[in-house]
């Protein structure tokens, strides 16, 4: 057993930094609170850089945590999400929330949770990481202590989250009962062999695990908490939930199904495909009626979960690149969605408003912000030049490759629907009359963060090859045995 504790260094950095933030806030009360946010961002960045030490490595810690390119990719990914979440929070938290030290500490803890969801190589570690991520988010959701909606959202999120965790655990126990191991690779090995007599147990276990993870990533019909939690949570926390809880959930979802449950693919493919179809239809159709930007983005993110589930439904031994397509779309979605949320946060900082009708005339008052929000929304809708077009194209193609043309057709149709409600926002920004004609003051730090995200949107949209290669290098590690051999052979 490999007990090389140094493999966990990026998370030491994060945990230590979190503790430091709390004490800095406690003992140096006069420090400007937005600096605390930038300090936290520096911590997330430091952990990101640390994680690069194990680039192209392949090792594990006590068979619990593996450190390979998949882990490294998600460490970097989540670290960067943490950076942007902290930077975007800085002004908001300074003006509106109490106890900023704990707030940023919790953000860093979600990064740890997310990274270990990607790094776990057995069920219990995965579960604990999932809970670490979830608990931090429960607290953050209800962080606006005197806001009833925030408390309501937090409570709903927590109750349903606890319920789903229980379901997830029950599913795990059934799987363990059949396979007598919690190791993903071990499960794969047992499932490849003869499992006759256990079909029903396995199927039930799978269904429960899908339901549990479905809650976390907000797949229909387990999505009920999402709109309320999104609307109630302070805006930067909403951004964080939409990015890290989805991404973390899918990092685990993908790994679990590729690494452990792939031999049962015939059992779960259609089930997941149906879930995916329901998710994208409901998310995108209900989004049409929303008039609050947070709820709109909540339902649109449910729709995006539907697309992501397609990637898992398209997994198979000889379609290993479906996993890469999924992660590529995940990255594209998170970048675009974060950009949209940063816009909403900036606007909220100016006006304290988050209804879509409040965006009237934004193009007159802040042209850059209106442009940036339009670009991020068009990217989410899958329009060319931007990340969404390429990533969706590849992801849908991956599904068609597994004879899921009907699913891809629904996906294309719902993308079209999504264009409508994004255009409504654009319409308000460019055609509405502003309340007053004055320009808003320029928030340089937030604009810089936004510019970086937009560059990402364009880079992925116009030249996805580098990102795709990185994704492919990482997903090569989540296949075991024969499938791994097939994947490695797929390269040039």
């Amino acid at each position: 057993m490999n007990l090389d504790w140094s493999l966990l260094a990026p998370e030491y950095v994060l945990a230590g930094w979190a503790a430091m933030l709390v004490s800095v806030d406690l003992f140096w009360g006069r420090l400007r609170k937005d600096w605390l946010g930038y300090l936290a961002a520096a911590g997330a960045l430091a952990s990101t850089l640390t994680s690069l030490i194990w680039l192209n490595d392949d090792t594990n810690f006590a068979n619990l945590i593996e450190v390979n390119n998949y882990t490294t990719f998600f460490r970097v990914f989540f670290g960067l999400i943490g950076v942007f979440a902290c930077v975007a929070s800085a002004r908001f938290v300074k003006d509106r929330l109490l106890h900023p030290g704990e707030y940023y500490a919790l953000i860093l803890l979600t990064v740890i949770g997310g990274s270990y969801m990607a790094a776990a190589r057995e069920l219990l570690t995965a579960y604990i990481s999932l809970e670490l991520l979830s608990f931090s988010l429960y607290v953050l959701t209800s962080y606006a202590k005197f806001d009833l909606r925030s408390n309501e959202g937090g409570l709903k999120y927590m109750l349903l989250g606890a319920f789903s965790s229980a379901i997830f655990l029950f599913g795990m126990s059934l799987i363990y009962g059949v396979t007598r191991t919690t190791q993903f690779e071990g499960i794969h090995e047992v499932l490849t062999g003869d499992t006759s007599g256990f079909e029903l147990t396995l199927f039930l276990g799978l269904v429960l695990i899908i339901a549990g993870l479905g809650f976390k990533v907000a797949a229909v019909p387990f999505h009920m908490w999402t709109p309320d939690a999104y609307e109630g949570a302070p805006l930067p926390v909403t951004a964080l939930i939409s990015a890290i809880s989805k991404a973390g959930g899918f990092a685990l979802f993908l790994k679990l199904f590729a690494m452990a449950f792939l031999p049962l693919v015939d059992d779960w493919r259609l089930f997941l495909a149906g879930l995916s179809a329901a998710t994208m239809l409901l998310g995108n159709l209900v989004a049409i009626q929303q008039h609050n930007i947070k709820r709109l983005l909540a339902y649109s993110s449910i729709g995006q979960v539907g697309y992501l589930l397609m990637g898992i439904a398209a997994l198979s031994a000889d379609n290993a690149d479906a996993a890469s397509a999924l992660v590529l779309h995940l990255a594209g979605y998170v970048i675009s969605n974060l950009a949209a949320f940063v816009c909403a946060i900036i606007y909220f900082n100016w006006t304290e408003k988050d209804e879509i009708a409040d965006y009237d005339g934004l193009a007159e008052r802040a042209p850059f912000l209106a442009l940036a929000l339009s670009i991020s929304l068009f990217s989410l809708a899958g329009m060319p030049l931007f990340a969404g077009f390429v990533t969706k194209f590849i992801l849908f193609q991956a599904a068609v490759e597994e004879d899921l043309l009907w699913l891809a057709s629904i996906a294309v149709f719902t993308s079209f629907v999504s264009l409508y409600y994004y255009l409504v926002v654009v319409k308000h920004m460019y055609l509405g009359e502003p309340e007053e004609p004055t320009r808003f003051p320029t928030p340089w730090v937030e604009y810089a963060a936004l510019a970086v995200l937009l560059i990402g949107v364009f880079l992925v949209g116009l030249g996805p090859q580098p990102l795709f290669n990185a994704v492919q290098d990482s997903t090569a590690f989540i296949f075991t045995g024969a499938e791994a051999a097939a994947t490695v052979g797929a390269g040039p």
């Binding site: 379609n319 290993a320 690149d321 479906a322 890469s324 397509a325 068009f378 329009m383 060319p384 030049l385 077009f389 390429v390 194209f393 590849i394 849908f396 193609q397 991956a398 068609v400 490759e401 043309l405 891809a408 057709s409 294309v412 149709f413 993308s415 079209f416 264009l419 409508y420 255009l423 654009v426 319409k427 460019y430 055609l431 030249g463 996805p464 090859q465 795709f468 290669n469 492919q472 797929a490 390269g491 040039p492």
Partner: protein, 499 residues
């Protein structure tokens, strides 16, 4: 000269980028940058059209760059950035160059955020060139969507609403309708592209590669309608044409010119380039349907145009009618008919652009478009009236002008393909066209002079020049169509399944 095709996409993209860097208060700088870019696109398009060697009708100016490889399910080469021009695309590339060049002159007087206007306009133009020149289906679709997307803002911000007395057709309505219709059409295209890619199993989106495969008959019959309807929406295929009058009327002048003049051709081009060249058997099976819808559109558009009092709605419905001819030409499935369809794309492109330009020129001054309230305008706007007359006469198919050449080819093709009823109805539609065009000329430009409009002046010099360019090509093609026919026929004769 391989760079010429690449440059037609790089120049608009670069212009959009350059314009972003110019502070928006320098309105004149913005205009001159747009003019420079428009003229260089015009010259580039002339070069491409002129230099295209039509001996064998194959692809020329080929450029192929790797874009996304190494994806297992996308095959060995993956997606390539593959550009080329053949004899069908060459006249359409020229058309785009002409219309954007004239369009810049027509947009000269835009004051409200003219920088943003030109950025979006050039993005759209880049998309249009991209569709005509892409040989890789991924990029064809990429540019197709890119050409549609800027339309929303262009119409909604710079467009105009129409008051019908009892109700108002707002520009937001026109913009949203247009974009949603066109993107809904692209849903079908998207699905059919996936299905084709998997069915071909060649691991490539490249059209020549996909074209080298013979698809099963049932597959062709199933998926040809996806391309026919998907692209057909943009081509104004009846009954999915209703976005076209509303959208074109709401749009600002240069956008109507480009959209009715060029973008609608993307639809017909897509049916020909993707649908018919990949699925000849499917096309043969569905040709009677396409013919019926095309004739219906031609007649319906003409009759609707006759009912309009608003000049711009009349031009909008006449576009539906003329695009009906294009679809008829495609449905003949014979060489002369398809030649005619491509000729009609070009002819209709320049003449409808001229008509929309003239509507814009009068609307800028009079802020009215109802033809019945004008009268005898040829007295104070003689050149404007004569430009209208040329566009109108070409539109009704007067020999010696572009419209005649194209429609003649189409009708001959229709009769050759034994659609005698369709040919007869098509000719009837041409007669109706003559009625509404002449009636419009009589109402607005001749007859007793209406003193209310005595203050109207002749068009600006820029508008006169832009219009003159369009008229030159209408007359050129009408009198000497060979340069066009040579190029088109060489490529059309290579298409599979053409008699």
């Amino acid at each position: 000269m391989d760079w010429a095709v690449f440059a037609t996409i790089a120049v608009p993209a670069g212009t959009a980028g350059l314009l972003m860097a110019i502070p928006s208060r320098h309105r004149d700088v913005v205009r001159y940058v747009a003019l420079m870019s428009g003229s260089s696109l015009f010259i580039l398009s002339l070069i491409i059209f002129g230099k295209y060697q039509f001996d064998d009708g194959g692809y020329a100016f080929e450029l192929q760059l790797d874009w996304l490889g190494n994806v297992a399910f996308l095959g060995e080469k993956g997606i390539t950035y593959h550009l080329a021009v053949d004899g069908i695309a060459a006249p359409l590339v020229l058309l785009t160059g002409i219309v954007i060049f004239a369009g810049v002159f027509m947009s000269w007087n835009i004051e409200y955020r003219n920088k943003d206007f030109f950025i979006l306009l050039f993005l759209m133009v880049g998309g249009v060139y991209g569709v005509f020149e892409s040989v890789d289906l991924f990029f064809l679709f990429f540019f197709y969507e890119l050409a549609v997307l800027p339309m929303y803002l262009l119409i909604a911000v710079w467009g105009s609403s129409t008051d019908f007395g009892t109700f108002v057709r707002t520009k937001e309505y026109g913009a949203m309708k247009l974009v949603l219709y066109l993107v809904a059409g692209s849903v079908l295209i998207f699905i059919a592209i996936f299905a084709t890619f998997v069915e071909a199993g060649q691991g490539s989106f490249d059209l020549p590669v996909l074209g080298s495969v013979t698809y099963g008959e049932n597959f062709q019959k199933t998926f040809f309608p996806f391309f026919m309807l998907g692209f057909g929406v943009l081509a104004g295929l009846w009954p999915f044409h209703t976005w076209s009058p509303d959208g074109h009327v709401a749009a600002p002048t240069a956008v109507s010119m480009l959209h009715a003049g060029v973008l609608m051709k993307l639809g017909a081009f897509g049916i020909l380039r993707v649908g018919m060249s990949l699925f000849p058997e499917g096309a043969a099976f569905w040709a009677p349907v396409l013919m019926t819808l095309g004739v219906t559109g031609a007649l319906y558009g003409a009759i609707s145009a006759m009912a309009q009092r608003d000049l711009k709605y009349m031009v909008g419905y006449s576009s539906v009618s003329h695009m009906g001819y294009v679809l008829m030409g495609l449905a003949t499935m014979n060489e002369i008919g398809i030649n005619g369809a491509v000729l009609q794309m070009f002819a209709h492109g320049v003449m409808t652009a001229l008509m929309f330009a003239m509507v814009g020129a009068i609307y800028d001054q009079a802020h009215a478009r109802d033809m019945t309230i004008f009268g005898g305008l040829s007295r104070n706007m003689p050149r404007h009236a004569s430009y209208w007359a040329v566009a109108g006469l070409s539109s009704l198919g007067l020999p010696g002008l572009a419209g005649f050449v194209a429609e003649f080819h189409i009708f001959v093709g229709t009769f050759q393909a034994d659609y005698i009823w369709a040919g007869a109805l098509g000719i009837l539609a041409a007669a109706i066209t003559a009625t509404y065009i002449l009636r419009m000329l009589a109402f607005a430009f001749f007859g007793p002079f209406n003193e209310r409009w005595a203050s109207l002046k002749e068009m600006r010099i820029g508008e006169q020049f832009g219009g003159a360019v369009l008229i030159f090509f209408i007359a050129f093609m009408g009198m000497w169509p060979m340069p066009f026919v040579d190029r088109i026929a060489a490529t059309v004769s290579r298409l599979p399944g053409i008699t």
